[in-house]
Amino acid sequence: MTIKNGIVPAKYYEVSYKKSNAMTNLLNLLGKIKKRSTALLGMLIIIVYILMAIFAPFISPYSVKYSDLAARLKPPVWSGGTWAHPLGTDQVGRDLLTQIIYGSRISILVGFLTVLISAFIGTFLGAIAGYYRGTVDTVISRFADFLLSFPFLIFAVGVMAVLGPGFWNLILALTFKSWVEFFRLVRGEVLEEKNKEYVEAAQALGRSNGAIIVSEILPNIFQSIFVLATLRMGYMIIMEASLSYLGLGVPPDIPTWGSLINSGRNHIFDAYWISTLPGIALVILVLSINLFGEGLRDILDPRLKVEGSE
């Protein structure tokens, strides 16, 4: 490399410019996750679940509509069942393994979509309220407080009762309240970041308010939003299961873990597996997401960074 008048040839620029792209950042992050066994375990289990949901038709032993009335209430293999139905069957002879695999689709999709939408809405409103303050802030914040005063499940049950069952209605009912969490986080963080000198410097440089919010402040608080999103995802999945358990989720012909747990309620003493196994699937997924989220928080949040760990 030759340096002429102190200016480096553009070629070098291209090479080093690539150095700090999204891919390397991701690889960096993965390297850090690898050092934390719980976060790594959580991430691997989540990946298995996602693959399971995507490839459900190929890996489940039976079709989702299949039921064999002759093979009702068969126990899982460890309770004396056969390998034809490894996790047993329910009261109408549906294979439980198939149902659980298909059930993961709704859980993951609902968890992911509600968190994505509410993170988007919450971040948008939170940034505006925190940056501009004034009347906008007051109006949105009071509305958020109003929503917060309802218990989540009661609120979701109420909304679902009005809207009726359905996938998008479910998403709507859950998002309607869960954006508040993101709103409060982002508003608080923006309030804090706004007073830092780099924002003042950006103003003194002539940047517009919109540009300051999007390209100066948000990159600084993105990590917190990301961590909250992972933690909220587990909660949303439980909410979906709760609503399905109450018969207020998606239409009954789509298997979900919540409706499976509900359908096994009458047989809880003679066929424990119908309720228990979807419950275990749910617990493992939510636990993995929380472990992963917690690990991410430790890695990303500079305030929690242990001295000398970097």
Partner: protein
């Protein structure tokens, strides 16, 4: 090129209106360095922020004129003002650590400042310009490296991708100066740029600012509470007290033969190594509470050693005592 007339900045608080800047007059010629000195809370920073019209809420400019190259900045629209910020008038802040955005590489932040005011124009407009984005970035990169070299950052091509926390305080301040210089401003507002740095680095940064002033002809308003630095670095000095200028003039006049009791006090309170075991001088009392300051009389009255009864009542304005030297004191009336 810059003239401030009767500037008043008021903060509306629960305790009443705080007059942070109270009828300030100031002028600056092209290519000159003006030092603004005073205690904490005397309104130095607010004066600078008023020039850019960035006085933070709940403060507001209630009166006055700020003429920059003949145009009143207070009458500009917000978008016109954004055009001026950074491009014609740039600002350097006190704490370099927090002035740079912690999540972006330093070079990218300097490049961004070029982008804000379209310093390197795209070769073509519209979608074709977008396609040539890479070429434009390359040019901007070269310009940034040049700027970084100019402000004395070694290995600029390597430092381009470093993050602010990998820089030392002096290097961060150099990067901030590079950002300020990126658009070749006519006026540079420096808000205590050397306070957070140690003395050797302080001298280097001052040298750098001096060089910029000489080479580019950039006028500088230099806010500091360090009189020694101001005496060394500035052409003119204005001493501020309670939101007003109490004395201003060429540096040798103000430092050499101070007129106002406050300036005298400030100069007396500088510790000297030549003095032997002497108690350090301090101006008695504290900066007055700006919220309960009476509009009449001299604000320095209660702390002044040379005060007389009339000081309580007198209406004062700046009095010219000799060529270019002004004082706000009853003694020179």
């Amino acid at each position: 090129m810059l003239e401030i007339r009767n500037l008043k900045v008021i903060f509306e608080t629960d305790r009443g209106a705080v007059r942070a800047v109270n009828g300030l007059d100031l002028s600056l010629e092209k290519g000159k360095i003006l030092g603004l000195v005073g205690e904490s809370g005397s309104g130095k920073s607010m004066t600078l922020l008023s020039i850019l019209r960035l006085v933070p809420y709940p403060g507001k400019i209630v009166e006055g004129e700020i003429l920059f190259e003949g145009e009143d900045l207070l009458k500009k629209s917000p978008s016109e003002m954004r055009e001026i910020r950074g491009k014609d008038i740039a600002m350097i802040f006190q704490d370099p650590m927090t002035t740079l955005n912690p999540v972006f590489p330093v070079g990218e932040q300097i490049r961004e400042s070029l982008r804000v005011h379209n310093i390197i124009k795209p070769e073509r407009e519209g979608i074709l310009g977008f396609l040539r984005e890479k070429d434009r970035r390359k040019k901007e990169y070269e310009k940034v490296v040049e700027l970084m070299e100019k402000v004395g950052i070694s290995y600029p091509e390597k430092r381009y991708f470093s993050y602010p926390h990998q820089f030392s305080g002096g290097m961060q301040q150099r990067a901030i100066i590079a950002i300020a210089l990126s658009c070749n401003p006519k006026l540079l507002l420096a808000d205590e740029p050397t306070t957070a740095l140690d003395v050797t680095i302080q001298a280097q940064i001052l040298d750098l600012l001096r060089k910029i002033n000489e080479v580019n002809g950039t006028s500088i308003i230099f806010v500091t509470h360090d009189l020694a630095v101001a005496a060394e670095f500035c052409d003119e000095i204005a001493v501020m007290y309670a939101g007003q200028i109490v004395e201003k003039g060429p540096v040798d006049k103000v430092i050499g033969e101070p007129k106002h009791p406050y300036t005298k006090g400030l100069l007396k309170s500088i510790p000297k190594i030549t003095r032997k075991k002497e108690k350090l001088y301090a101006i008695p009392g504290n900066v007055p509470d700006l919220a309960s300051l009476s509009p009449k009389g001299c604000p320095f009255y209660e702390r002044c050693e040379e005060a007389v009864e009339e000081c309580k009542e007198v209406e004062l304005s700046l009095i010219e005592v000799s060529d270019g030297e002004f004082v706000r004191c009853i003694k020179y009336l």
